[in-house]
Amino acid sequence: MIELLEKFTAGFGPAGEESQITSIIRDEIEEFSDEVRTDNLGNLIALKRGSGDKKIMLAAHMDEIGIMITHVDDDGFLRFTPIGGVNPGILRHKNFVFADGTLGTVGVEKLDSIKDLKLEKLFLDIGAADKKEAEQQVKVGDSAVYQKSFYSTSSRIIANSLDDRAGCALLAGLLRNLEMPAHDIYFVFTSQEEVGTRGAGTAAYGIEPDLALAVDVTGTGDTPEAHTMDVKLGKGAAIKVMDRGSISHPGIKNLLVKLAEQAEIPYQYEVLEFGATDARAIQLSRSGVPSGTLSIPCRYIHSPAEMLDISDFKACAGLLQEFVSSKELKEIIKNN
């Protein structure tokens, strides 16, 4: 599964332009699925049929944050705008890469004070001598993402886009290994989550699931002078209670806790004071879908170097498996 993760983090896929990462994921799951399709918003939807009559939707988003080029100036420098939650304050001297591999680095205009550092003071330098040369490689409207890197130690992984390639890897891993599911399981690799959980909503509308679980990363409170938050790397799979996008269905939350305790999988509760996951969109689909989120604890989200703990990652994989195989899913669905 770590191999899958490494493969996935290397895929190019800023929100709205997921075709490359879609192919990479599709290659890994197609032969293990009963049906695979994409939809109008670019979601990748794989179905594994089960013996029962209920539909379970699992969602992890394929897209990552990035930047879009808005201007090529006469000297070959590029101006850009964010795609998703990119913090202009951390972009100086970061490298970005385009779909075709073209690389650029972020420079900044002269500043009177650090407080003046804003998006409009930044530019991307791809080493072109002038406008003409730049336009041979890049044009207005093209998008780029953080340069790719992947490091693992014995216990931690530092890579770009663990948000949410880690979730995608968990889903893909489960899909490959799951035999005879009790219900129809829809593994949805969603699009455009980073710009407003858009793919998840249209995917859910099409699938009409009875129950859904999003798998995404969440922040931690375990770094120096961090905002108070209970989640820590190494303490296990994080079971989301609430974030600013959704309040998890209590039946799903409680079942995850119960299963973790029964299977002795380390877990922790998560309350996030900002952010959202695909659960937000799925929960509000049509007449409502009981939804929750299983979270992978992750430091430095939305930076080029996100960090997760391998034991947490494995705990999430284990808990996800337990969840999907649980006989109690029917109870949650029935009670609604």
């Binding site: 609430m242 309040i247 929960q283 049509r286 007449s287 009981p290």
Partner: protein
């Protein structure tokens, strides 16, 4: 987890009066996401006036009362959830750090008694340092959320046995009866609206109406108008009326931003209100001499009316609000007269809805 700290809950009878009802409603703990805390109370009352009651995947409580026609659906929506807090962390000394659920003003929190809805209800206090121990500048600034904590007085062991991350916290406040049929308490936003909805059921029981009426105690309004979105999709009514609260007149507030107290409910007009329903409400009020006020909205947002209106291919909606002072504090004040007038107005208006009226809704 529980249903309010008044441990003796009297059975709600068909005849239970409005003063008792508002006390029971206000004192229930039902923070967004835990509306079940107030289900029993609402179910008990509505069971006397409706034909079927169910809940849905988002914990909306939906009760349907049949009308004489078969094909007219009116949906009333009042949100059952209240703003509150959620435990996000327990420190080494057993103090609880918390996150907000819905729009809580941190300045209303220091020195507030609360109930932590853990394995059992636990009383706590949101600590506020006494002025003697604070520096002069600290005293001048409002408390920041990050600095506040809940003190249960319990040792860490006890805390951990009974409280988990994710447990909700409600403000502890008993309802107070003031002069002139005013009441004060927490969560009158929108328990007062729920009360108006229940009273409307009571009023409808006395008259004939063609429309099937859906009484929906919606969930998660305070965190994004969520319950009403899915309930409206599911029911897809011909007419949807949200019942909420609006600001009541008080010093320091522009007259244009608030309605007067005890002069009748405020009937809104604005982008989220279908002009025909507004007309029907105001005309009915005038014909029957029911006091009401007008409220102009520049934006459609802020109440369940906004999400009901955009369900599927669109719903004709309206909004009626109870003037309320000190919104989102634990001492909200409303006039029960306004609730009674509102219930009468809604019942009488619903009774006027027939096929002809519905056909006119798409004539612009």
């Amino acid at each position: 987890m529980n249903g309010g700290y008044l441990t003796i809950m009297n059975k709600i009878e068909k005849s239970t009066d409005i003063k008792k009802l508002i006390k029971e409603l206000s004192e229930r703990s039902a923070v967004s996401g835990e509306e079940r805390g107030a289900f029993q109370l609402v179910k008990d009352f509505l069971s006397h006036y409706t034909d079927e009651i169910r809940t849905d995947p988002l914990d909306n409580l939906i009760a349907r009362r049949a009308g004489t026609a078969e094909d007219i659906k009116v949906m009333l929506a009042a949100h059952l959830d209240e703003i509150g807090l959620m435990v996000k962390s327990i420190d080494d000394n057993g103090f609880l750090k918390f996150a907000t659920v819905g729009g809580i003003d941190p300045r209303t929190l220091p020195a507030q008694e609360v109930i932590v809805n853990g394995r059992k209800e636990i009383t706590g206090v949101i600590g506020a340092m006494p002025p003697h121990l604070l520096s002069r500048d600290k005293r001048k600034k409002a408390h920041k959320l990050e600095d506040l904590y809940i003190d249960t007085g319990l040792e860490l062991e006890e805390v951990k046995k009974n409280i988990n991350i994710g447990d909700t916290v409600t403000i502890k406040r008993e309802l107070t009866y003031l002069e002139n049929d005013y009441v004060s308490g927490k969560a009158l936003d929108d328990r007062a609206g729920v009360l108006m909805m229940l009273e409307t059921a009571r009023e409808l029981d006395k008259i004939k109406h063609q429309a099937d009426v859906y009484f929906v105690a919606t969930s998660q309004e305070e965190v994004g108008l969520k319950g009403s979105e899915t309930a409206a999709y599911d029911i897809f009514p011909d007419v949807g009326i949200a019942i909420d609260v609006c600001h009541g007149q008080m010093p320091g507030v522009d007259r244009g931003d608030a309605s007067e107290m005890a002069k009748g409910p405020a009937v809104a007009f604005g982008p989220q209100v279908h002009p025909d329903i507004y007309q029907l409400l105001t005309k009915t009020a005038e014909e029957r001499s029911i006091p009401y006020q007008k409220e102009a909205s520049t934006t459609p947002y802020g109440t369940d009316a906004a999400s009901i209106q955009i369900a599927r291919s669109g719903v004709a909606t309206a909004l009626i609000s109870i003037p309320l002072r000190y919104m989102h504090t634990s001492v909200e004040v409303i006039s029960l007269q306004d609730v009674k007038s509102g219930a009468q107005l809604l019942a009488r208006t619903i009774a006027e809805i027939d096929q002809d009226f519905l056909e006119g809704l798409t004539c612009y």
